[in-house]
Amino acid sequence: MRRSRHRAAPAVLVALLFAAGCAQSETKGISGLPPTPWVSRAIPEATGDVKTLPDGKRQAVRYRGWTMEDFGKYRTYAYGDSRPEVAPARVAMPAVAGDPKKGRSLFLARSLGPCTGCHLVQGDDVWPAGNVGPDLSTFGDRRLPDEYVFNMIYDPRHVFPNTTMPPWGTVGVLKPEDIVHMVAFLKTQKGPLWPEKNSERNPETRPKPVGFGDNLDPTNNPAVIRAESAEALWARKGPAGKSCAECHPGGPLQAMKGVATRYPKYVAPYRRVMSIGDFLAVHSPETTGAPMLAQSADNLDMAMLVKMASNGMPVSVDLASPENRAAFERGMANFNKRVGQRNHACADCHASGKGADRFLGGRFLGNAQAGLTRHFPTWRTSQADVWDMRKRMQWCMTPLGMNMLPADAVEYAELELYLTSFDKGKPMSVPGIRH
């Protein structure tokens, strides 16, 4: 007995040292995750890097035109990020006189939220307001105590633990004095309401977007032409002297028929879940020798071409294998995980009964449970460019105050698998066309 205890002690110590000194081994032993952190094969602006400037400031590397602010202090979807959700906090209401005018401009300030992204208030200049949160046009009639309203804005989780509303005060977006002004403004929101001059001002009566016509018509969707341009890439020999066509004969539409319906899926040689784009980023350099970095034009175009070969076929992702099942569960957990400065989860905006199918400002929020993956990569009329689901996810997270993960991150792949599960059995239609 004594002997074995002696022998066991150093073993435990070694295990502890290993766990403490080697943060990257956190993913070890979880079925379906690569044994070491995934090395991103994305273009530089898509890897989610944060660089340190000569003056010591940290600056995020993102796509051109995106904010460069570093949100490193807020938690992310990364599996290695074990920081807990920021705890609900409370402060005493400052004894300053509330100015309704100041409060109104804060309420509408685009740099601070804006509150009108989710809540409607009175005034023709309130445009475009959303309806993710309740209409506050007659909030003053409820005669709620100031202290209560103040705390609702500061951190609503004291009253509603599962609220969609960010804890504006706790995370430091709004200062306590600002909130006092906003409380004063909300008291002025009283009925009776004037008839609406324009029915589109109120998100409840605003027409829902109707789309942009046939997404597979090349005269209508420029992405179709881009996808077809990948046919030349398909036939081109890479530095290794081989082309896609040599190993996959019959042309891309024949050779890749039905392949995309099964992605994202666990790919055993890489020991992780991958989408078509993730797979191309490693498969192309290993076979043809040509790089096909995630988020590069080649990668997007080829992913579209491969997916087009499955158009009309039902999505048939595998959710039964242990690896895919585990990935699906992790994807679902991340869908519901609160992250970033705003302390939002995907579910806040994209789950039925929450923000889904409502307006966030002027934007109509997609419903994850109704399926929103079958058309990616998609042409974005507002960007005049092709975006895949990853860039969409990266963009979703940036205004919420979370540093984006690399475009080919395992976390995104598994989130994509979770989202794709809602499209199972529905026909693919790539490339899509959306706002």
Binding site: T219, P222, E231
Partner: protein, 109 residues
């Protein structure tokens, strides 16, 4: 880019005789833009589509003169009155002698 000169024509799926029909045509073409060196345009034979001819049942019904100000892979949309069944042909001519044609059959249902 996809192969140069591929023409695609889209017409409504159902047309009745006498209807005014909206046609959408797309052609794959680089539509080379003017290069400048030291602020002056480079003198060369630029490659762009400069004429589009539309014929309907053998008769020319429209002709467009186009310039480099039109985008790469240009898209044209126009309407015409479908008086009889027959082929609608759109021909693109470029500055380097290229001639690209697309035809669709106008049928009544």
């Amino acid at each position: 880019m996809a192969e140069i000169g591929r023409v695609r024509i889209r017409i409504p799926s159902s047309i009745k005789q006498g209807d005014v029909v909206k046609v959408r045509v797309l052609v794959i073409h680089p539509m080379e833009i003017v290069q400048r060196r030291d602020g002056k345009p480079v003198d060369k034979n630029y490659h762009f589509i400069n004429r589009v001819v539309v014929t309907y049942v053998g008769k020319e019904i429209a002709q467009f003169e186009t310039t480099q100000s039109i985008s790469e892979n240009p898209f044209f949309s126009f309407a015409f009155k479908a008086t009889e069944a027959g082929p609608l042909k759109v021909t693109f001519l470029d500055t380097q002698g290229g001639r690209y044609e697309g035809t669709t059959d106008i049928k009544f249902s």
